[in-house]
């Protein structure tokens, strides 16, 4: 899932400084699960902003609403009236959700309340770690299900490097060396021959280096929306 964390209250206050009526929009999907922008967090933030702006002497009318999924039109369309009544929309969705609101409601001023961080998972309650870099050309089948693109600081395809010491990455003593993990996993599975295969340079054009990405599934498109 997408992992995000809330911006500091001071930064959010400065983002909404020019508005009197603010609508906080939470999202019921990824950012709910990572406790950054769900219904509970939207309510707490709206209440915090009402109190903080009142104490600053410029109390704002801050209301909140949470949609099931902020990144799909059908879930955000019902917000049209509430968005129209607000001077500013403070999105507690990920960057996709905030952009969906901005795109669907062109007149609305949309600002982000979260910093979208990465795609990952909770390794324990309260701890989230990155697992996927959306490189567009998955190689997990060669690496024992451990991604060196997301988890190796150098994104090496033929690791480890000399900075791997006692299974730990030189970049951060709390970060395990991805290639040590890959070696241990392949060894346990008796598939170490995979690590001996030299991987050629990766096709980065499938990732961010190729510019904004788009997937079109003709089999799923509605006939009326076809340009043909």
């Amino acid at each position: 899932m997408i992992i995000a964390e809330q911006k500091p209250l001071e930064e959010i206050k400065s983002l909404i400084a020019g508005a009197e009526k603010v609508l906080v929009v939470g999202c019921g999907t990824c950012v709910t699960v990572c406790f950054a922008g769900g219904e509970k967090e939207a309510g707490i933030l709206a209440s915090s902003l009402r109190m903080a702006t009142k104490l600053d002497g410029n109390g704002k009318a801050v209301t909140h609403v949470t949609v099931q999924r902020q990144c799909e039109w059908e879930y955000i369309d019902p917000l049209s009236e509430q968005v129209g009544q607000a001077d500013m929309v403070l999105s507690l969705g990920c960057g996709v959700g905030a952009q969906a609101l901005a795109e669907r409601f062109p007149q609305a001023v949309v600002v982000p309340g979260l910093n979208t961080s990465f795609m990952g998972l909770p390794t324990e309650q309260g701890v989230w770690e990155e697992r996927c870099a959306a490189c567009g050309d998955c190689i997990l089948g060669l690496t024992g299900g451990i991604c060196p693109i997301a988890r190796c600081a150098k994104q090496l395809l033929n690791g480890p490097c000399g900075g791997s010491q006692d299974g730990v990455c030189e970049v951060d003593p709390d970060t395990p060396c991805a290639w040590q993990l890959i070696y241990d996993k392949l060894k346990a599975q008796d598939r170490l021959h995979l690590i001996l295969e030299i991987q050629p340079p990766k096709n980065w054009s499938a990732g961010r280096d190729g510019g904004p990405r788009k997937i079109t599934r003709e089999d799923l498109r509605l006939a009326a929306e076809h340009s043909e």
Partner: protein
Amino acid sequence: MNAKRRVEQVKKLMEQIGLEPGRLSMVNLSSAMGKQFAELMQETTQRIAELGPSPLRPNGARPMEARSSPQSPSERQDP
């Protein structure tokens, strides 16, 4: 332990909002520690009195009559 960590988190949030974190505290007591409970309540009352009325209340204070004549639980209204 979870409650204690959450109270600490709320105190940080209060500070960011501009409220004194000292208005909130958490202590662990058993039901047999009546004397300590009374002492802690006195300390808490004194600390909050020193902080003064909540700046979020209109004119910064609750009406005197509400403070001098406590309501029964059925009459109480949360702010």
